[in-house]
Amino acid sequence: MQANKPENFYQNVKDALAQPDLKMIIRRTTDKAEAKRAEAIANFPGFENARKQGQKVKDHTIKYMDHYLAEFEKNALAQGTIIHWASTAEEASKIVLDICRQHEAKKVTRSKSMLGEEIGLSHALDNSGIERVETDLAEHIIQLAGDPPSHIVWPAMHRSREDVIKLFREYHKDPTYSEEIIDLVRSARRDLRTKFLTADIGISGSNFLLADSGSSCTVTNEGNAELTITPPKVHIVTAGIEKLVPSMAHAIPLLRLLTRSATGSEITQYITFHNGAKRPNDADGPEECHMVLVDNGRTKMLADGMEEMLRCIRCGACMNHCVVYKHIGGHAYGSVYPGPMGSVLTPHLNSLEVANKQTHACTLNGRCEEVCPVNIPLPKLLRSLRAQSWDKKYEPLTNRFVVKAFAALAKRPMLFQWVSSCGVIFMKLCSRKGWIRSMPLAGGWTRNRDLIEPESKTFMQQYKAMKKAKSDGA
């Protein structure tokens, strides 16, 4: 599957809505995640306090980011880690490739990292001729399928069991002919086991960077990060600079929030703190550890007053609860980061000009903010981006005309009421059995769903009638 582009958002949405099973497949996972999160939080009375604490940890670190970044660098260097700085995605990707080439790497294993996707590392490795082995099961599935990820926690949620059966039978050396999910997982285990043990370089992301020790922290349920990192001679970490926290003690509250918000688990099975390369006489581990610290738009977010978005711990709860995401899925956004958090991040990682339409793909119902474990005011940030998009004249001319016409009407109450009443009559003429299947100028709405027939009278007409009835009664 070819990756969608963010600037083609409307077409991407049309394509997504035309897929008959997509909505059902997405909801199977997101609805389960929503229910499990609710249960986990109901079992944790201190959750609101934890959210406030988590927010404070992130805000504090962002406020003193230069201090913590310098401290992290000093301590990571002391652990023997080689530090690389990358201002852009291209730079980050090139640094990783250069390290691979220096070590004449033929095969690299990767554990799931959204930053790796963000900097285009998958494509860069593929184009360089180095064998790339994705070790997270979902990433393994989408690598075989040639798909981009569609969710930040479950990147293959758009793929059904039937899809996985076909892929594994085609690509696994010793495939299963069972259709049971456990046998499919075993097939992947067999296929990946030797690759883990024979890779030249292991590449991981990092959920947290601990400033006081120079450590990186990986969080997985599969244990694939440790299997990716330990056997090869070289470990490369790619991490965004916003992953910093002051210390392990500050990462703990965020870990409590992350797992409950992401999957509804009280804790993930594997949390590992990585402290540089192997020590002399260590039984195993990489001999060299590189850390690529990536900006790629993060400092611009600080400068643009969007620092609240840097709190994000990538749990995916906002997309699991988003009515728009649940209809269109992740690919329609045309970005590594879909859903509400993606609609805020993408304009900074790419540009608002190409990703402004996503900021409108939101009902502003506030669910994303309600469930965000670090209280990111996503609706406020989306409104701010909409305003910037308007000021920069990125909106299509038709949208600008409609909004200006509405503004002109709204300033003239009598005219507004007259036009509204005409609109109601027109809509009634278009409706059949309580529903409007199509209507001139409303194709964007009625193309994929029916519009409910309006009441016979406008709100103001009903309000006036009610007021009159009251005064007559009195």
């Binding site: 700085w85 979902a138 299997l227 390369a277 620092e307």
Partner: protein, 227 residues
Amino acid sequence: MNKQRNEISRERIFDAIRAAAPTVTADVKAIQAEAADILRESEFARPDLLADDAADALVQRIEAGLVIGTSCEQIATMDALPNAVDQFLAKYALPKALQVQRIERLQKLNWGSLSTEVDIKNDNTVGLCWAEYGIAETGTFVVHSGPDMPILLNYLPLYLIAVVPRSKILPYMDDYALIANEIAQRGETPRNMCLISGVSGTTDIEGVLIQGAHGPEVLHMIIVEDQ
């Protein structure tokens, strides 16, 4: 590595941060005090334990099925360990063979008919490790990498037994963070500090939980009293 390019990117990033937040204080002590204040809130922002005693809380968590794929038992002395392991192998109809971590307190035990040197790189085998700590909050055992602790021992076998000294079971993850900090102060931080809370699992196909995705499918924690 192009050192000059690296230095330019570094400066660019730091300059951009400082330009975006020009009021940032350089007073390190004030920053540290602010960071410490945030941690004082942890008491009100963590879950309740299932029992007052940390070890009891950990056992209850596992017995309640809250730690994926994990069972536990308690033994009074290390001498009872080989028999407990033997029974575990019998329960799962496994061969009497496993890889035992090469530390004296485990190697010196009388393992009787059990072979303790199998190759864990092969699937469907059993590993046995000594945990540095346990954590009641999350049903976790902690291992540190080192000359006697190959990290892969905990990730390659399909069956894993972790021996946890009862006296080293901590109530909360925060308590472990304090210990990690003490280790760092002594300059003894290991390469890896692994917090393991259940078995390798995935929900990536249709949201169905499957154990043994890449690592262990079954985890058994044996809590030893006399350590």
